[in-house]
């Protein structure tokens, strides 16, 4: 039997066992008594409550959503039982999200495609506060000062949602929400180690007193190089250039040493007023990687500091509001790529929520953001350079939303936002939705939306210049000879039509169906001009693209098990063949299957399976991303009256190694460790 066939059989057996466990859940469902969500309990009378048994039930929120956009919530329980130690890996659990691992630290993540190391079509927030890179507008996931067991939930919202969440939420928004100090009282520690010697440790202390509560977390992550983990094999997408780029000297030095600190405090100033403030810091040293055809072989160092303070208040008439300041300071040292750059952003925002008329829920507010960007150019001619720094930029935004019931079953929600950016002037975002309930109990909801959003060109596109060694004529692969910024770039625009259905079919069984069409114009891409041996690339507003797709998700939650399955189809077609969109295309077909079994004696078995089909990148990336099957399995058990837990597991069990996955503009890529056995121990006091 060939090796390939053997692997296919192994994969088949694992998938079959997963399906069998799902079937067990369905069988168990047939005989199960009714179970109730916490929200349902408040609707019950005393007589009904006296008949409810105290047994463990649902582990995942199954609320019927009345959101005006497609939302998936990855809960703390999903994160806990996944055993995963970084946010991008956890995001695979959400339908419609493209997650590509470029190396042990760097991920390309987006919604409905457009993923890339510097992908900038989604808005990423931590507790509602901006977490994107203000120079290149991508997301530095690896430097987020957030510990996994501090996350309460991750909201993944798909579609243009700039009207509700802020500028640049073109394809969606991901909001990482951390637990409040009152929910984490006590001392907690967690250690995860794996067979390669990687470790992820987290210690947390939370205290509650009369009016104060606070939480302090510290964590350290230590990842070995892919080379040392037996998976550092490099491949070249342009073998003819191997000698020129020194390919034989490449080693997968993608180690990571990351120290994270996170502090939050809250004060219940009065019954109606809460004050909160916090500080978080991440200090990350990591190995290098290729950057658009150039491999500097230097370590990177980033520091990320986040501060905030906020006042929430409830007024006598029931209206609520908040004012908030947050400040982010990010510094990056990447010798031979960009010697040093930093940005400091200060954001002041306020929001007020009221219900002034019958049936209307209105929110309005705005923000002012000041950004100062500083760069230091190094001596190497191949570094990316900025010549007009420091850059002082400003944002100013205003929004209003109104949600009202037109009839008992029909709810209308309108959201409008305008933003002024010092570099491109005014623009606007909109989302208008109709939510119709098919039944009185609102267990079956239809949703129709129209939305518009935009993406502004970050300073990296408008001001950065680069120059690289030239290539020779006739080659099918091009290194950018010169890279020119374009100050006159305008906003990329998008609008979408969306429809969906959410239904609670029976106790614990829910179904979600969504579909969309999205149009893009003035795509912020690259125009490549070749004249003889010289290649000149310029950031430009290219033509547009059409995107469309659909998602289906079914979830079953019972006392002893929880299982869900989803399928997403995402298509993207540019107006011109091979048009550069500075990002990757989505995997057309994605699917996920999760099963969680609550067994006897406090054992919990969890399995996650994710499938992506092959991604063809046209000219944006040299080598297509292959089909991906990923299966994670783990088993955990509580001990010491629930104060402790041990987990053992294996992630990516089907693949000895993973990848390689090529980044935008990269000529080479290397494998990363696939199948990884790990163990975790947690204690709380």
């Amino acid at each position: 039997m060939s090796m390939r066939k053997h692997l296919h059989i192994q994969k088949f057996r694992f998938i079959l066992s997963l399906l069998i466990s799902t079937a067990i859940c369905v069988q168990a469902y047939a005989g199960q008594q009714d179970v109730n969500e916490p929200e349902d309990l408040f609707e019950m009378s005393i007589e009904e409550l006296m008949d409810v048994e105290v047994v463990s039930v649902s582990r995942r929120a199954q609320k019927i959503t009345q959101s005006s956009a497609q939302v998936t919530v990855i809960t703390a329980e999903d994160i806990h039982y996944s055993g995963l130690t970084n946010i991008p890996e956890v995001l695979r659990l959400a339908p419609g999200v493209d997650v590509q691992r470029l190396d042990r630290n760097r991920y390309a993540v987006s919604i409905r495609g457009f993923q890339g190391r510097l992908s900038d079509r989604i808005l990423v927030l931590i507790n509602g506060r901006s977490a994107g890179n203000q120079v290149f507008a991508g997301i530095n996931w690896e430097s987020f000062p957030v510990l996994m067991e501090d996350i309460e939930r991750i909201e993944v919202v798909r579609g243009p949602v700039g009207a509700a969440w802020g500028a640049n939420a073109e394809n969606g928004m991901i909001n990482i929400i951390t637990k409040k100090p009152v929910d984490t009282e006590g001392l907690f520690s967690s250690t995860t180690i794996n067979e390669y010697g990687d470790s992820y440790t987290h210690t947390r202390l939370s205290q509650i007193s009369d009016l104060w509560s606070w939480r302090l977390s510290a964590g350290y992550e230590d990842l070995e190089n892919s080379d040392d983990a037996g998976a550092g094999k490099y491949t070249s997408g342009s073998p003819a250039l191997n000698g020129l780029i020194g390919f034989d000297s490449y080693t997968a030095r993608d180690f990571s040493r990351n120290l994270r600190l996170d502090f939050e405090a809250r004060n219940q100033y009065s019954d109606d007023t809460e004050l909160s403030f916090g500080a978080a810091h991440s200090n990350l040293e990591m190995g290098d990687s290729e950057f658009v055809g150039y491999y500097p072989m230097e370590d990177y160092l980033t520091n990320n500091t986040r501060l905030f303070s906020r006042i929430d208040h409830r007024f006598d008439d029931g209206s609520t509001g908040y004012i908030q300041w947050f400040g982010n300071y990010f510094v990056s040292h990447a010798p031979n790529i960009i010697k040093r750059y930093s940005y400091l952003e200060n954001d002041f925002e306020a929001q007020y929520n009221l219900a002034p008329f019958d049936g209307h829920e209105i929110s309005f507010g705005g923000n002012v953001r000041l950004i100062r960007i500083s760069t230091t150019n190094g001596p190497d001619i191949q570094e990316t350079r900025f010549y007009n720094d420091p850059y002082n930029e400003q944002w100013f935004g205003l929004f209003i939303t109104d949600r009202f019931s037109l009839t008992d079953r029909l709810t209308i929600e309108n959201q409008v936002r305008t933003d002024w950016y010092s570099e491109t002037d005014f623009d606007w975002s909109l989302r208008s939705s109709a939510l119709y309930s098919l039944d009185e109990a609102k267990d079956h909801m239809m949703r129709f939306s129209f939305a518009r959003a935009f993406r502004s060109p970050a300073v990296g596109l408008r001001e950065a210049t680069s120059s690289f060694i030239e290539t020779w004529p006739g080659s099918s692969v091009f290194l950018f000879n010169t890279f020119q910024p374009t100050k006159s770039l305008v906003n990329e625009e998008t609008w979408s039509l969306e429809g969906g259905y959410t239904g609670l079919l029976d106790k614990g069984l829910s179904v979600h169906l969504n579909s969309y069409y999205q149009r893009y114009d003035n795509i912020l891409g690259v125009d490549i001009q070749r004249v003889g041996p010289v290649t000149n690339s310029t950031f430009v507003n290219n033509d547009g693209a059409d995107a469309y797709g659909a998602e289906f998700e079914i979830a079953l939650t019972k006392k002893k098990c929880r299982t869900s399955a989803w399928y997403a189809y995402n298509a993207l077609k540019t107006d011109n063949y091979n048009e550069s969109i500075r990002a990757g295309y989505p995997a057309n077909h994605k699917a996920g299957l999760n099963t969680r079994l609550f067994l006897a004696d406090e054992f919990v078995f969890n399995a996650n399976y994710i499938y992506y089909n092959s991604i063809h990148h046209f000219d944006n990336i040299i080598v297509d991303t292959p089909v991906s099957h990923r299966l994670d399995l783990n088993l955990s058990k509580e001990f010491a009256d629930g104060r402790g837990e041990i987990m053992i597991g294996v992630s990516d069990v089907l693949n000895k190694t993973s990848g390689p996955v090529y980044g935008i503009g990269d000529l080479t890529a290397h494998e990363t460790p696939g199948r990884t056995f790990f163990a975790r121990m947690q204690m709380k006091f």
Partner: protein, 206 residues
């Protein structure tokens, strides 16, 4: 390194399997509290407070929690609901250790804390590890005559002067009511609620 991790995993598994430690289900405890939270929401519909505490309909109905902060989370959804057209406000006060009556003669600080508790409509005295039986008794005694609905979940709560106590029977939550204590705190409890209680402590007939 790989072999060492495998050995570690096997040893951990062995330790788990030979362990005789009893396994309490955290999840069942959370479920129990969720059900009790729903009971508390219903209790608010069937209890009337005196005029001095019910006059201002703009003031929320306030629920204070002592002992276990777990209840704060399961009660939080009530802040989005209304009872008798009034909002509900939830607040966690402290553990029992912080509310322990001091031995010194001057317990002015403790009295001040009790005065704050008296401003609540409902006080939930939770059962948790650091609780000693005499702690709730001291607090209940201090709240006598104060118009506070005291709710507990321990044996002897009614005998200590508490008004409503949760009890478990056949994995289901029930409750018992001390009408005498309710009258001392000037509270009127609906007969419907009394009918559903497992036990009702009434005044002894002469």
């Amino acid at each position: 390194m790989k072999n060492k991790v495998y050995i570690l995993v096997i040893l951990i598994l062995l330790a788990v399997f030979v362990s005789a430690t009893s396994m309490a289900a955290d999840s069942d405890k959370i479920r129990e509290r969720q059900i009790k939270a729903a009971f508390i929401y219903n209790f608010l519909k069937f209890v009337d407070w005196p005029e001095e505490k019910a006059a201002d309909s703009n003031e929320p109905i306030t629920i204070g929690i002592i002992g276990c902060n777990d209840f704060t989370k399961v009660l939080k959804p009530l802040e989005h609901k209304k009872i008798k057209n009034r909002n509900i406000s939830i607040k966690y006060f402290a553990g029992y250790e912080k509310l322990k009556r001091p031995q010194e003669a001057d317990d002015r600080q403790w009295n001040e804390k009790m005065e704050v508790l008296k401003t609540r409509h409902v006080l939930l005295l939770c059962s948790c590890d650091d609780m000693r039986f005499e702690n709730p008794r001291e607090i209940i005694k201090a709240l006598e005559g104060s118009t506070v609905l005291t709710i507990g979940e321990t044996d002897g709560f009614l005998e200590s002067g508490g008004i409503i106590n949760f009890l478990m029977e056949n994995k289901k939550v029930h409750f018992e009511i001390n009408v005498v204590a309710a009258k001392k705190n000037k509270l009127r409890i609906s007969s419907k609620l009394l009918r559903l209680a497992k036990k009702v402590v009434q005044e002894k007939s002469p």
